[in-house]
């Protein structure tokens, strides 16, 4: 057996999660029948691990496992069919085995391989005797039938385990989904309560600290758009405020925070009874002089890819003022005709 196929065989054995488990009636019944039918004092269900053979079920022997080097069944792993050894003293592979030369003085062995649907031999259903003997064709057929029953029990065990795992995963997914739905419902209720108030607010101001991360911009612009729509602003004015805010925040992130998402900028959005929205964006940067910003409409600049942000803000809002050395922009727009 190659190292690769042995590794695959051991991996298959692990999938059954049967090693070192407690005795089970379903397996013990089958070893008992094997022992009775074959007339041997010893019958075993063996599973061949990397360094040992472990007995899932055993009749007539007290050992729970033996080193793999002493295992008869390890030889059965590579046998194409049932391995029958009438007298171990005459088999060159086994005659020096301490289980043959000493206690329990094994002479006879018949092992039927336990093969998975994928073709890996995990161990054997075997019968053992302390005297030389052989099996009749009927006994061989019966042992083979019992072997198939052991294989069926192994498969059943694996399928039950897989089913339990799938059910566990389903339960976890359902619990997670229920949690998300509850969270969503709470959020939705909160949004609905806030939204319901907006049309009645005569004045209001949101003051926010926003991470200097472009991914935060849509949350801010979407919120302001929502508020303006609730206040029945017309589409053109909503778009103007949305774009001016986008430009102001993008400028603050790029220039005021140097694109460093760990920094933060301050933003306030307020509207008053007269229907005017006032937006202030403030960044922690070095500021700039708005007077020296190049005119993007100048023929020299019209085809430059950058430098349009402040120009757009000026064009979209009614009044735009810079303060604190350019670190703060305050812009106003009156509600137009709906």
């Amino acid at each position: 057996m190659t190292d690769t196929s042995e590794a695959a065989r051991l991996a298959a054995l692990r999938e059954y999660r049967i090693l070192d488990t407690a005795p089970e009636r379903a397996f013990d019944d089958l070893t008992m029948l094997a022992s009775h039918i074959c007339g041997t004092p010893i019958a075993l269900i063996t599973l061949v691990d990397a360094e040992r053979q472990w007995f899932k079920s055993r009749i007539g022997i007290a050992l729970e496992e033996t080193p793999r080097a002493l295992s008869f069944c390890a030889h059965a792993l590579t046998a194409p069919d049932m391995l029958i050894i009438p007298d171990a003293r005459e088999d060159p592979r086994l005659r020096d085995n301490p289980l043959v030369t000493g206690d329990p003085h094994i002479r006879f062995y018949a092992g039927a391989p336990l093969v998975t649907p994928e073709g890996h031999t995990l161990g054997t259903l075997c019968v053992v005797d302390r005297v030389t003997r052989t099996l009749t064709p009927l006994q061989i057929a019966a042992l083979d039938a019992l072997r198939r029953q052991v294989q069926s029990q192994l498969e059943l065990r694996r399928q039950v385990f897989e089913l339990e795992q799938a059910l566990g995963e389903r339960d976890r997914a359902e619990a997670e989904q229920a949690g998300l739905i509850a969270e969503l419902r709470t959020t939705h209720d909160n949004v609905r309560r806030l939204s319901a108030m907006i049309p009645f607010c005569s004045t209001c101001e949101f003051t926010m600290t926003i991470p200097a991360d472009p991914a935060a911009i849509p949350a801010l612009t979407d919120g302001v758009v929502h508020v303006l729509q609730e206040k029945h602003w017309n589409e053109t004015d909503v778009m103007a405020v949305e774009l001016a805010l986008q430009e102001a925040v993008a400028n603050a992130i790029r220039h005021g925070c140097g694109g460093d998402a760990t920094k933060a900028l301050q933003c306030s959005v307020a509207w008053d009874e007269a229907g005017e929205v006032v937006i202030t964006v403030r960044d922690p940067g070095a500021g700039f002089d708005p007077a020296v910003v190049a005119d993007p409409l100048d023929p020299e600049n019209i085809l430059k890819p950058s430098g349009r942000g402040i120009f757009l803000i000026n064009g979209l809002m009614d009044d735009v003022r810079f303060a604190d050395g350019g670190r703060e922009v305050r812009m106003r727009k009156k509600k137009g005709t709906p």
Partner: protein, 138 residues
């Protein structure tokens, strides 16, 4: 409302329904490449995708590019900047960047920026493709 002491944890832009990531569908008609843009074309959201896609076409020597902006529902100065940069870059190489089916929002921003006359803009894809066939691209 009190400002929180630290910036809150935020979701990525793509998590917001209104900010789906830019999707670019490419079709090739002869030596013209049509790019259908779908999504936002703004700072850090769509601008880099368009820049990279056009750069890749240029590396394949595909220099006649038609951008459909029908489904670009949001553009800012960075988005406009990418259009200008790629327009200039293609023109320098003997190609061209033309626009078709621009959305009302894109038209408004281009109008304010006085760039409506810079780009060749078409109402129909057929007319736009015909303009390349006429040899109007340098």
């Amino acid at each position: 409302m009190r400002a929180p002491s630290a910036p809150p944890t935020i979701r990525r832009a793509g998590d917001y329904n209104s900010a789906k990531p830019m999707v670019i569908s490419e079709r090739r008609v002869g030596d013209v490449t049509l790019l259908d843009l779908q999504g936002r074309l703004v700072f850090d959201d769509g601008d880099e995708e368009v820049r990279t896609h056009v750069n890749h076409l240029v590396s394949e020597a595909r220099l006649k590019i038609l951008l459909s902006l029908r489904e670009v529902d949001y553009i800012d100065s960075c988005g406009v900047g990418v259009l200008i940069a790629k327009f200039m870059s293609l023109r320098r190489r003997g190609g061209d960047l033309r626009l078709v089916s621009i959305s009302p929002r894109c038209r408004r921003v281009l109008t304010i920026s006085r760039l409506l006359g810079v780009f060749q803009i078409f109402e129909s894809e057929q007319d736009a493709l015909a303009s390349f066939a006429d040899g109007a691209a340098r």
